[in-house]
Amino acid sequence: MTQRSIDLDVLRYNPETDSEPYWQRYSVPHHDEWVVLDALNHVKDNIDPTLNYRWSCHMAVCGSCGMMINGKPMLACKTFMRDFENLIRVEPLANFPIQRDLVTVMDDFVSKLARVKPYLIPKQDKPIEEGEYRQTPAELNRFKQYSMCINCMLCYSACPEYALIPKFIGPAAITLAHRYNLDSRDGGRDEREEVVASGEGVWECTFVGACSEACPKHVDPAGALQQAKIASTIDWFKEHLTSWLNK
């Protein structure tokens, strides 16, 4: 039986020689069990070793292989070739600058992630001698969904507000701030609100919801951001009303 083949149109860009990206077509075998990442690996191993792209685990936990596949932000290792018939367009993740071929510049996301302080800031310092932090299953479940983020940035590619407003802190970073705010061991919400409740934070979000539709780990960043808006709104009214009453 002859092997079917399928075409990949891949957006190429070499910053040292190109002024603009351009499409390059590769013909690859069309295996039912292959994912797009397998096709890219086939290209690199057998056809064009100059193709650049990020990947690692090949099982949708590391978040490295995000790219636009037929215009949708997806993980290349989680996108099956059998779902495509004729032509697969592969481009680097939208809303990020192209470094080279399918590799994007991630710096903006990484810096925004750092700004929201995505780590436990305990309410009080607790020395080791006092033992571990204890958490009930209920307390864990409160934030567990939001801890599943693999930092793949598909949500940033899906979000039109991030596309239109580059300074927007963005879905994943704010969701991770929310994850720590909900953690019973944490006391750092006020610090995070300086970023999350700012004009660049949650208030740029208009609840399009594309982020949650793109998320491969079902984190639901859109939900997290709405919860953050409600919490920030309640805080704002409490702060301003109590300061008014205290005058």
């Binding site: 039109p160 239109l164 609100e193 300086e194 970023v195 409740a197 700012s198 004009g199 660049e200 934070g201 208030w203 208009t206 808006k229 409600i230 920030s232 709104t233 805080d235 704002w236 009214f237 301003h240």
Partner: protein, 113 residues
């Protein structure tokens, strides 16, 4: 980085969006009925006058109209931005002014009944 004052416009937007979600469709059905020639009893002059004469009726009418206007105004502001009209400060001033003007007008009209 300072915390935004967006909550002051977003809070009423959320309240208005909720009110509008629950009551606007049925209100449209009532005035549609009137538009088709069957004025429900409550929408006749006597019915509406009775409703608006009572303090509770005034409060209900004021709340529904003002919150609906505010909610529409806030959403319109972000819709303009989404369509590429990005003079946000100007647009915000215009839409919120119109909502507040509408609310004040409603108050004045109700107090005359």
């Amino acid at each position: 980085m300072a915390k935004s004052n967006k909550p002051i416009v977003w809070g009423p937007f959320a309240a208005g969006g909720t009110v509008t979600a629950f009551v606007t469709p049925v209100l449209i059905l009532l005035t549609l009925s009137a538009a088709l020639g069957h004025v429900p009893d409550g929408l006749t002059y006597e019915g509406m006058h009775t409703l608006a004469s009572h303090w509770f009726g005034k409060l209900a009418i004021f709340a529904v109209i003002t919150l609906s206007l505010w909610s529409s105004a806030h959403r319109l502001r972000s819709t303009f931005f989404d369509f590429g009209l990005r003079r946000d400060n100007l647009i915000a001033a215009v839409v919120y002014f119109m909502a507040i003007a509408g609310g004040l007008a409603c108050l004045v009209f109700l107090l005359c009944i």
